[in-house]
């Protein structure tokens, strides 16, 4: 006798509407599941659950917000009013606020369960939020009675197809009933990094979902919580063949020849060199060549704002202003002060997708590194970002500053060069006539290249890479300068 599956056993997905959260959850919550949303006071539990609640309301569903010993409803609503997701018209209509405190106090957990059952039966919410769930523990006589209550709550909301969020000031993943008997355990937390404080979310467990492991940055904005899945946790192996034949031009014929016709499409290149040597200029030239070729480009930097950058380009006859004005070039700039690199990367990837960027510049990677939270993960983070750019077929330049006088005992280098396919070294060459700029391709993984040192010329007429006119030069400091020498004997 075959018994066919009921609709209930085919649990539907419940999207939360919280930017980034569904990605972290592996799609969303499972309809009819019970989830513990834990975190200490001020972690953002109430805002997150309300945000999910009002999102479900916007989908035409009903939500039941049940409070135990928590904020009063008036206070709760007053606090939520400042957030853009709050819908005043939905309150008491699609979003019902009730207190379960009296039933819990008078009749214990059994009375509270009965109230929940009758409320769900009468109101038919698709989502229930129980705020102040710690009180349930305080009113349970034993761990066993709390376990029994959570078991029954699980069965009740599953039968009623009512996804349930329990809010409690707990942390971690301990062998308590609240942690072991729920379908998902989501923790909101804050951490200190020097004098900074930042917020993180971690999903400790989530049944029936392939969620992202580890911690992810989030912040609370006027629109509610904005979450940024850690890039390192979402890297997938490359899909499909890699195109190594298509070449991307710098618009500088000599440099393109040195690269064997240009950079490989989708490759990443580090431009490393001391301050003022021309890294940013070369990047702007690269972007201008893209724009001239009908491509869309993205510049991501933390030092120079758009106007300074465009002015700098115009000063050396690199025309980018029109492209910036009409959107062919997007400039994403944020001063290198207390940056949330996950948010910056997510926004950059979103912008790149939106405009269809094929070229991107990350200018001054050390600025991002020095102002990032949890700086110890920056190398992995950058690796993941570069991987995503490659996957998107975006050809990228990353600039990294090399100290004028290297201090080997105090290196903060991210070693970007190890993460990229290509490495271009820019140095100063001290000649009898003064300082010149030298450029060499140190590595190009995917094809042959010309390893000789050339001169990078920057003038008001533009940039050029020329064969070295010098037969010899004077070296002034290790790692700082180069000896420019012609490939052909003088």
């Amino acid at each position: 006798m075959t018994i066919h599956e009921s609709q209930t056993s085919l649990r539907a997905n419940v999207d939360t509407g919280v930017p980034g959260l569904d990605e972290i959850l592996g799609g969303g919550l499972v309809r009819g599941g019970v989830y513990l949303l834990e975190g200490m006071a001020g972690a953002g539990k109430t805002i997150l659950s309300s945000q999910i609640g009002f999102h479900r309301v916007s989908r035409g569903e009903k939500v039941l917000y049940m409070t135990l010993i928590a904020e009063s409803h008036d206070k709760l609503l007053a606090h939520l009013k400042g957030l853009t997701f709050f819908d005043e018209n939905a309150v008491a209509q699609q979003m019902l606020f009730v207190s379960g405190y009296h039933e819990l106090m008078q009749d214990g957990l059994d009375g509270f369960l009965k109230l929940i059952a009758s409320s769900i039966y009468d109101y038919r919410p698709s989502l229930m939020i129980i705020d102040g769930f710690r009180s349930a523990r305080e009113f349970s006589e034993t761990e066993l009675s709390l376990s029994k209550f959570i078991h029954e709550l699980n069965a009740l909301v599953a039968a009623m197809d009512c996804t349930t969020l329990l809010l409690a000031p707990l942390s971690g993943n301990e062998p308590h009933p609240e942690h072991t008997l729920v379908d998902g355990l989501i923790e909101l937390n804050r951490f200190s990094d020097g004098m900074r404080r930042a917020r993180e979310i971690e999903v400790h467990k989530l049944r029936a979902r392939n969620h992202l492991m580890g911690k992810h940055y989030f912040r609370i904005a006027e629109s509610g919580l904005l979450m940024y899945p850690r890039l390192e946790s979402q890297c997938a192996p490359s899909s499909g063949p890699v195109d190594l034949k298509t070449r991307i031009s710098f618009g500088l014929p000599h440099l393109d020849i040195m690269f064997g016709g240009g950079l490989s499409q989708g490759s990443t290149t580090t431009l490393i060199g001391p301050s003022g040597v021309g890294k940013t200029m070369l990047c702007l030239q690269f972007l201008a060549a893209g724009v001239a070729n009908g491509e869309r480009c993205l510049y991501l930097g933390s030092y120079e704002g758009p106007q300074r950058l465009l002015g700098k380009a115009e000063a050396v006859s690199i025309p980018l202003n029109d492209a910036y004005q009409d959107g062919r070039l997007a400039i994403q700039w944020q001063p290198a002060i207390e940056l949330a690199v996950d948010e910056i990367a997510a926004n950059a990837l979103a912008t790149a997708r939106e405009i269809g960027a094929t070229r991107m510049v990350i200018d001054g990677v050390e600025g991002f590194r020095d102002s990032a939270l949890r700086v110890e993960r920056f190398g992995l983070f950058l690796n993941a970002l570069l991987h995503q750019l490659r996957e998107a077929g975006i050809t990228a330049l990353i600039t990294e500053e090399m100290p004028l006088y290297p201090d080997h005992g105090n290196s903060r280098s991210t070693r970007v060069s190890a993460l990229t396919e290509n490495l271009v070294l820019l140095r100063y060459a001290e000649t009898e006539a003064g300082l010149r700029r030298a450029i060499s391709i140190v590595k190009q993984r995917e094809s042959a290249h010309d390893p000789s040192t050339h001169e990078l010329v920057i003038s008001s007429h533009g940039l050029d890479v020329i064969e070295s006119p010098f037969s010899a030069a004077v070296s002034s400091a290790t790692g700082l300068s180069a000896t420019l020498q012609s490939r052909r004997p003088a």
Binding site: M1, T2, I3, H4, E5, S6, Q7, T8, S9, L113, K114, A117, S118, Y121, D122, K148, H151, E152, N154, A155, L156, A158, A159, M160, D161
Partner: protein
């Protein structure tokens, strides 16, 4: 209002169906296995039996067989619930089958169908 006997070895299922069905207006009796259900049925004849399949002491299948073997109890409508996709067909042709987990709305629909 009609009386429903819910038979299940899982305490949470008994609690939930009791709370919800009572709220709907049914009188609800519960038993944790087939043998306890038979005792209950002989004391208070229910209008409908909602039984799980896999239970200790006496299974839902054995309960159905015992009910069918008793001419006085044979006509009580039975909804047999199981998490298994395939269970042995029962002699009683009027038994209704439901795959667990079952939603409250689906159970209500079946109850209305079997009890009129």
């Amino acid at each position: 209002m009609k009386t429903i006997l819910v038979v299940d070895d899982e305490f949470d299922i008994l609690t939930v169906w009791r709370l919800l069905l009572e709220r709907h207006g049914y009188t609800v009796l519960t038993a944790s296995n087939g043998a306890a259900a038979l005792d209950q049925i002989r004391k208070t004849r229910p209008d409908v039996i909602v039984s799980d399949c896999m239970m200790p002491v006496m299974s839902g299948l054995e309960l159905c067989a015992a009910l069918y073997a008793d001419p006085n109890l044979r006509t009580i409508p039975v909804i047999l619930c199981s998490a298994a996709a395939d269970i042995p067909a029962q002699q009683n042709p009027s038994i209704q089958y439901a795959r667990k987990p079952i939603s409250f709305d689906a159970l209500l629909t079946m109850l209305k169908r079997v009890s009129g």
